[in-house]
Structure formats: C-alpha cells, structure tokens
C-alpha cells in the first residue's frame, strides 16, 4: 500500500535533481529562441531557397519524435568522435526541437502585427536590421509571451526524455530512487508532484505576464 514516509523521503533527492530539469529546459528554450528567431527570419525572407530550407527544418523537427532526435544526436556525436557531455547533447536536441516550435510562434505573432508598422519603419529609412530589432521583435515578443511560457512548460515535461541518455534529472533520479527503495509507486508519484509544482508555477507566471502585457 501507499507509504507516506517513503513518499516524503523521496522528495529530497528528486528536488536536487530538479536543478538539471530546470537547467536543460531553460537552456533549451534560450537556444530555441536564438535558432527559432533565425529560422523564422529565414521563413519570412525573400530568398526562396532559404524559405524552403526553413520550412523543411520546421517540418522535420516537428515531425520526428523528440526521443528519436535525442538518440540520433547522441549517437552521431559518438560516431563523429566528438566527446561532449551528455548534458550538452540533451540541451542541444531540446533546443533544436524547440526552435521549430518557437519559429512558428514567432511567425504567428508577426503575422498578427499590423503590416503598416514595418512599412512605416522602412518608409522613414530604417535599416532592415533596425526594423527587426526595434519594431517587429519587441512587439512580437509581447504578443507571444504566453505561448513561450507554454513552450517552456512543454520543455520541462519533454526534458524527462533525456533520462534515457543518462542525465540525472528528475525522472532519472526517480528511477534510481525506485530501484534502491523498491517503492516505485511512491517515488514516481513524488516525481510527478515536483513536475506538477514546477508547471503550475510556470502557468501562473504565464497568466501574470499575459495580464501585465495585455493592451
């Protein structure tokens, strides 16, 4: 039956492991933002080859399960002979995968902006790079904040998959804990609780930001 002491005891190691979950999700979303912005810019550019490549990128990384992407990247590093920590492979894969989704979030946000804004900026002689950094992106960021927080929640959940390449985040740590205590039920429910708390906090943050930035 369900044992409360075992359940409470399993929180300590799992909360320690939550550092890695947060690290991977946050670095993943940062990398995803950087690459996603570039992909989005490529998708909206006037160069057809760039547009096609960006569309291919989005369709590939959204079409292939993250777990498969993770293994492909993990093993390809070994084949090429690059010796990097598994954490790097994890962050990189999560970030690349997020970039496909984030570029679509940007695209939606930019499509929601009145076209006249960019045209006006060009008309008064702004450089294209200035139009992006001063007119389009600041507004797009505001519009897409809730969607980005939502993406971060998805990444926190997706980061559980990096346990298969041996990173001691919450899920992996709970596997280890379950193996030593022989009480998988309590341990995994504790792990679920920690994920739930993280995500409830994030969604509260998302609602707050949505409220703050509402025009």
């Amino acid at each position: 039956m369900f044992s409360i002491p075992v359940f409470l005891d399993s929180f300590e190691p799992l909360i320690w492991a939550a550092r890695y979950t947060l690290l991977i999700s946050v670095l993943g979303i940062v990398l995803g933002l950087v690459i996603g912005t570039l992909i989005c810019a490529a998708r909206l550019s006037s160069n057809m080859v760039l547009r096609k490549l960006a569309a291919l990128w989005v369709s590939f990384f959204r079409g292939v399960p993250l777990l498969v992407q993770l293994l492909v990247f993990y093993y390809s590093l070994a084949v090429i002979g690059i010796d990097v920590p598994a954490t790097f492979a994890a962050v990189f894969t999560v970030g690349i995968c997020a970039s496909a989704y984030i570029s679509e979030i940007w695209r939606g946000a930019i499509a929601a902006l009145p076209k006249g804004q960019a045209e006006a900026a060009v008309a008064i002689g702004m450089k294209p790079s200035d139009v992006w950094t001063r007119i389009i992106l600041p507004q797009a960021v505001t519009i897409s904040l809730p969607a980005l927080i939502n993406e971060l929640i998805l990444l926190v959940k997706a980061s559980s998959l990096v346990s298969v390449v041996g990173i001691m985040e919450i899920t992996r740590a709970s596997q280890a804990q379950a193996a030593t205590t022989f009480r998988p039920l309590e341990v995994y429910i504790a792990a679920a609780c920690i994920y739930l708390i993280i995500n409830l906090c994030l969604s509260a943050l998302g609602r707050y930001l949505e409220h703050r930035t509402a025009i």
Partner: protein, 220 residues
C-alpha cells in the same frame, strides 16, 4: 546499412510498426471517448465533480507522459494494478490524451450557437436529446480540425512507450541496433520514417478537414 540486416530484422520491425499503429489508433479512440465524457461531465455535472475533473486535467497536463507511464507500469503493481506492457501503454496513452481531447470538445461545444440550444429547449426537447441531436453533431464537426491535429501529436508520443518495453517500432529498432551496433543508422532511418509518416498523416488530415468544412459551409 547492410541489406542483410534489414532482411534479418524486417519481420520484427514490421511487427513493431503494427504495434505502433495499434497503440496509436486504440489510444486515440479511447482517449477521445474519455475526453468526450470529461467534456460532458464538465458541462453538466455539479460543481464539486467539475473540480475533481479539473484537478485530474491539471495533473495529467502538468506531468510528463513518461512519468505517468512509470507510475502506471512500475507503481501500479503496488496497489494491485498488474498490467502487461501493451495494456499499460494503452491505458497510459488514453489517460494522457483525454484532457487534451476534453479541451478540444469543450471548445467545440462552446462554438455551438447558444440560440440553437435555447430553441431546442423552447420546443420542449429533453436535455439528453439536446445533447444527442444538437450539441454533439454540431460540436463534433467544429472540433474536428483540432482532433486531427492532436491525433497526429499522439503518433509521436507512442515512441515513449518503448521505454516501458512495449514492443512497438522504436523498441524493435533499439533491439536491432543493440545487436548490430548500428545505433546511428538505425535511429536515423527511424527519424526519417517518422518524418514521412507524420507528414503523410497531416496531409491526409488536412484534406479530410477541407472536405468536411466545405460540406459544413454548404449546409449552413
């Protein structure tokens, strides 16, 4: 990749693909059914039942699918829930998908014009009849695009079942690569395979969607 490998492992890969498709279709059907029940309960049940259902939705949506599977498959036996890998995986997929499907149905029901339901009440239809003849037919059609979309997302989630040893495609690929040491090639081919599969399903989905929406516009 040598062809002899494919010859040797072809049958098990095919079987794995069969299990993937089976899990996907059954998981989608059961998940949709449970989601529909949840959406109806949220609409009609008394408030405290609604709260319980809301808590269930938050828990499922706030936790990773993998952890849910671990609780079910490894934790289940401690409370007497002993399931083989495939039933556990199916139950997991059903539970995981249900809140998302419920949200889709809820949005679909909201899209049914309120006047239609009021009109049905005004001519004296009983509430169950209203659900059956007004709410469901109208609500289901408007939630169709989102349903197709989420079903496609579920195809990608089926690979996670391999971690709890459900013998689906990814599990078989994993076994093959462990025996032949061809990890990279095997996973690369798997990635391409899923890419094609998901693209194909979403193309078909979009076509079905356009057809049904066209029909809808003609009728109304």
């Amino acid at each position: 990749m040598e062809w002899s490998i494919l010859e040797q492992y072809g049958p098990s890969l095919l079987r794995g693909f069969g299990v993937t498709v089976l899990c996907w279709i059954l998981g989608t059907i059961f998940g949709m059914a449970l989601g529909l029940v949840i959406a109806l309960v949220q609409r009609y049940a008394p408030r405290f039942v609604g709260w319980i259902v809301q808590a269930y939705i938050e828990v499922i949506r706030g936790t990773p699918f993998l952890v849910q599977l671990f609780v079910l498959y490894y934790g289940g036996p401690l409370i007497g829930l002993r399931l083989d890998a495939i039933p556990a995986g199916l139950l997991g997929l059903t539970l995981y998908g249900s809140p998302y499907f419920a949200e889709i149905f809820r949005a679909g029901f909201r899209a049914v014009p309120h006047g239609q339901i009021e009109a049905a009440r005004a001519i004296g239809m009983a509430e169950p009849t209203i659900v059956r003849r007004i709410l469901l037919p109208l609500g289901l059609v408007s939630s169709l695009p989102a349903l197709v979309n989420f079903s496609i997302i579920l195809t990608k989630e089926t690979v996670i079942l391999s971690i709890i040893t459900v013998p689906e495609l990814m599990y078989q690929v994993g076994r093959m690569s462990a025996e032949t040491y061809r990890y990279l090639e095997a996973n690369l081919v798997l990635a391409l395979f899923f890419w094609v599969l998901v693209e194909a399903i979403s193309r078909v989905g979009r076509r079905v969607e356009t057809r049904i929406t066209k029909h809808l516009i003609e009728r109304t």
